[in-house]
Subunit: 431 residues, 4 copies
């Protein structure tokens, strides 16, 4: 039998707290899991700095990737198999894309990418199609197969149905991470009835639809997603950790560019300073490496770098205040910080975040998201927000939030009492 359909003599299972067990019978999947690029995902946390507000959120992307694979496997084997719109020849493609969809994530992607201009989606593609163990395994299926898998992940593949299984507004990726992140943080918000949604999914030519009787279950899923964003993912304390780490990276880059002489050179980061990053360079980076450098930087002579990295490592975070996003406020405070001798570039950060829980491409919307479609018994198709007042209430509603971050003690220590008073007054007005 050809490699992509080859079964191992006995099924292997991974004990998993979210899905009970993850079942692997395909040799192809087993081989992919064993590659060093996939194993590297164990050294990258699924939720970056979130452990700073939810101490138990320490799980890795390895963890989550297995979960997405398992959901796609169940979709296919328990629901899609045998239905006219599903071609079981696409099973290996769907499973591989599910397993590998996060392969290009780096350490603390959100802050890292902003400073070094890398893009984890591009690197996912580069790792899959480059000179890697993953590529060698996938190529055994067919020389074009790695490219195909990459195309599914970056959504350019012609098979829209398979794409929608892995990236859409109700896909295996989200269904896994909502439940998984809820499990590890210990919150109840991420719970929804995945079993019911799976049972009611129907493959169609271009997308996965949900049987109309599943409308309330989808509603509940979208609410879970909404709650997880505002109650967990956007927690201001862990955003404060990101802010700090971002300033660390920025400082180190600035110092490097200015010719600063490091006591200990962060070797693995050098390609990122120069912007000439090979796949191999990229893969060498993970969160253990970043943490090692952070601990080295704590000993550097540059006081900004050593202060920021020490703050991050020891969780001595900035204080935060909500504000209305006004540029005037930022401007005034920036000036006052400068007058006080506190570099606002590193010690005064305004951070905004926003969430659009559900939307779709329609007149007036600024996005190309695909709608969630319900399928009636008679075969009609309905966009879900037309069926639910609750979903309708959040459709296209982009909610923004703004926070200011700054180190409280530095302000309390300002010598110039007039400046100090002005800063404190302005901040008090915000609170």
């Amino acid at each position: 039998m050809s490699y992509q359909f080859q079964k191992m003599p006995e099924e292997k299972v991974f004990k998993d707290p979210v899905h009970r067990y993850i079942h692997v019978r395909d040799q192809l999947i087993w081989d992919l899991i064993k590659t060093k690029e996939f194993q590297r995902l164990r050294r990258i946390k699924q939720l970056g700095t979130l452990y700073l507000s939810f101490h138990s959120a320490e799980h890795s992307r390895f963890n989550h990737s297995l979960g997405v694979y398992e959901i796609v496997r169940r979709m296919i084997d328990e629901v899609f198999y045998g239905r006219p719109a599903w071609n079981d020849e696409d099973r290996p493609l769907a499973l591989c894309a599910a397993l590998l969809h996060d392969l290009g994530h780096g350490p603390f992607s959100h802050c890292f990418e902003k400073i070094f201009g890398t893009d984890h989606e591009e690197y996912t593609q580069a790792i899959i199609t480059g000179d890697t163990e993953v590529n060698a395994v996938l190529s055994r299926v067919h020389p074009n197969f790695p490219e195909e898998v990459a195309e599914v992940i970056n959504k350019t593949h012609p098979n829209k149905l398979v794409i929608s299984m892995i990236s859409s507004q109700i896909d295996a990726d989200r269904m896994d991470y909502l439940q998984r992140d809820a499990y590890y943080t210990g919150v109840s918000y991420g719970s929804f009835d995945m079993e019911r949604i799976l049972r009611l999914m129907r493959p169609t030519e271009n997308e996965v639809m949900i049987k109309e009787s599943g409308m309330h279950a989808v509603e509940d899923y979208l609410m879970s997603r909404y709650q997880m964003y505002w109650q967990v993912y956007f927690h201001p304390v862990s955003r404060g950790g990101e802010v700090l780490l971002n300033r660390c990276f920025k400082r180190v880059k600035v110092l490097y560019e200015a010719g600063y002489e490091f006591k200990s050179l962060p070797t693995y980061l050098l390609p990122f300073f120069t912007g000439n990053v090979s796949v191999k360079d990229y893969l060498r980076l993970d969160e253990t490496v970043v943490f090692y450098y952070l601990q080295e930087w704590m000993e550097e002579d540059d006081t900004i770098l050593s202060d920021l990295s020490s703050r991050f490592v020891n969780r001595d975070l900035f204080k935060y205040l909500p504000f209305d996003g006004s540029i005037i406020t930022i401007g005034e405070l920036t000036e006052l910080f400068e007058r006080a001798g506190i570099d606002p570039e590193y010690y005064f950060v305004s951070d905004s975040f926003s969430d659009l829980p559900y939307d779709y491409d329609r007149p007036g919307s600024n996005n190309n998201r695909k709608p969630i479609h319900l399928l009636t018994r008679s075969g009609r198709v309905k966009e879900i927000s037309t069926q639910s007042v609750i979903i309708s209430s959040i459709t296209g509603v982009n909610r923004m939030d703004y926070k200011l971050y700054y180190p409280k003690e530095l302000i309390l220590n300002i010598k110039d009492l007039e400046v100090k008073g002005a800063i404190i007054n302005l901040l008090n007005e915000l609170n």
Copy 2:
């Protein structure tokens, strides 16, 4: 109010998946959690290499330490408070010892300590009584207080009751880790009725006893413990990871002592090579640092070091076989490995482990464990194994298990066919 009884204006809580919430109202506890030595526990996994067999076991000792604190806090505030044998003046001592009991753990303690001769219990004491942030906080209670906390942890303190809350055969430490490790691995074995055990705990002069009606609940707890050891903690795959890591450390030490010139010197390890380790040196080490070095070693010219570290990082583990522990078998195989040109020092490892689920100091026993005592309604005290045939069946029964670890492919590649055949035959006999 004196510092050790000072309450914060509002209770702080940590969301915790095992205990729902961890409640902190004491300023002293809050200050300890914020110290960098306590924060460092976030960078040390609770279960070392266990993630190699249970992928979701990625939680840290920080996590567990908060849990032990919470259980002791509940013991005191919900059960002991107001009972004659409990003196609430000991509350700060018990809480601090609970929180800090694992403070001296290093990265992958089990393998690390064997090679470098460090001892995490000694370092717990050293950190608490040395020049650290933790010491500064504890000293605010009383100059002697750090010493007292350390004495509770190393079991030399005169207050045996407080010691038994944190280290005995049914203590807060075990009750937390059994449940926590079960939660993160996703197994069901760690479940027992802690709520019932807590309700039935009674402080007495020298130890915590359990009301007689809790006998079955304790039985169930001991069975959970037993199952966790054999089904989870002793999993041969993760033991294989330990074996590999142990050999990495060994090789690096051997190379250093032999004057090998490292491409990149593992600076933070140097004090451990020379055996002259300060508290500061010790604290600098965590699992991110070890992982960084492992990745550096993958690039070293020494093929044994680069092979072993690469195997560990990329989870390319040795194969294992059960055997009967016989020295003859080991001897024969060692010789054959040598003849095949595979260094048995690094590539042929026999590993044994054993567990004694419950025992106590009595004629014929070789240990000084304190028994679990049941307390009858009329005030009599009974050792638990006299009341339960199940506990009796495991009391003092030390179960051993032996495994041989070796790299399968290296054996398959042996050129000398006679030697190769002899090795394979011997291994097959074991299986």
Copy 3:
């Protein structure tokens, strides 16, 4: 110490799957639980006919009543105690009202009350203030105390804060039943973070408010409630059971009034036929009695009564169809059923149900519900729908649903082919 504050020497606990344990320390509460009127609640299911669609929903009102008590106890002892707006003298009043709030429920209240004109709220009051064991226990507190408890339950008591703990849009009653009914049915919809809501509840002069930071948790709670109504409580299959039972009661009443001679007289129901029901008569009725009569009615000569009761007992339910609520449709079908010789009074039932998930008394609203109020740090009060687009989207939105119920086989057996065809056509149009 006076009776209402008297503690038992040792706390009693009930193992409860929802709250882990229910804790009783007050003699008063213990005495109430032992009364026969409270024990009677074991013979009345919490969810009536819902077991016909969710087979595992077999729990009793006894169960739920203990749960509501436990939540109120925790509110008081863990959150309210010591806060200025809370007077701990009101504790017994709040606990008793919580425990007894459902005392007057009868068997299958919803269908029963429609036919026999009884009202469970009136009977709750009558039982509490009448010649009962519950009354005797409450009177030991104070001769007026039963009256006071009844006033809290029927919301006429001057203490609005205590009333809002037990009946408001976010009260102990709902918080218990959402979680409990979810637990027994096995659905995930009823989950919300009660621990967080409890921690953020604040007693004020006239009501319980929620700290502003709990806004998302309340949102989640309201969504749980909404989902439970549409996914569980309104399940059309169990509504079909209610429809049948309602027609059974109706038939039996019609027969009695027409002088029909029962083979076996339903003695306990006689007072309900004549409308002259004493508290003692009322208490004699429970679901075991109703089921006994149903089984007797299966043997009666009246074919309608024997058919309907047999259908209910053996779960041979009517078929249902959604429709738009139009009176014309009902009229046409009623006439056709009559022509076909099927009595539409019993065999053709239109049923409507509606839910208003959240609302409050305001211009244009037709209800006197009290709003859910958020309390800001600075002490301002905000109505919750002004803070949440999701809650706003369901505020005041009364959703209706209509179903037609009829026995499929009877229609298939209609002799007059023209009438049969006309009925089938009309029903098909609805579908």
Copy 4:
């Protein structure tokens, strides 16, 4: 396709809190569930009087029967299918036997059968092979099929493998009830890793074996069973309920035989008084009927009957004391009760219970239980207690427990102070 393999066009599911969903695709199973004999199981509690000590244990045998079916279905479809020792032609037989194994249970079987001499196993057979709806459905498979199903249930069928799936020391029946009863009571003892046991079950010619690697999981399962017996099923309070109910039945029978004139004759019980019970008579009895009669008996003139039934209905249970089972004690107390004018036949009950958690037919054992067999990789078979010290410690160990039940207040009210004192002294000695 023949009826026994006929699939419905769409799978039906039952939401179940223990197994998430119960899946039915076979028309045969669906038809059986709809029969009135199977629906009757909704009116019989799985755990009889256990709700008197665990208030939430109110679930029915209907509930459990679906669960056993689901486990057998999963065994077959997920594990056995395709293995040489499994013949898929036996699937309908196994599924039907699983679903129907408890069909003959009556109300509160344990006490009822002792008085009226009925046997639920005989009635299971009688219902399956008699003139019933269940029989009609089963006969559609083959005229002999009902008989075959009954033979599997009563263990006389030649297919020992199928029998062992449903009744052995590790069967679907026990695996369901341990988990289900734990779920409903809210205790943690019933948890074990069923998923792992299922995965490791292997069909062999005459029985289901477990792969050797599942030894610890079976150990854990046997411990769960052991704990459930001693912590839940044998709870002395609910045994006290059984004792009362038993005495009610006894009294009513004695009265009937003595020609007592009942105010209201318990019609459905008459055949049981005379011992001439048809299947139809038997099926008419359920717990709602028994409860109706109990409420009628509360009004009878016979003070013993009215007192006992009123005590049971209102949960005014006897007090209990442990004792050593000595006949002398019982004799002395019986005589004293008589002298005090309290009829010991009804008001002084000694009750014993015992459990043998695991055993098998071997020299010296008095039972014909089949051992649990482990299957090694090389195909050898090992009896489990030879592999586990824990199981070995409970093998063949029959643990007994004795309780005395009596009404405390009656004793306190004894007029003859000498007799009263003697009774109280004797009871105190026991305590």
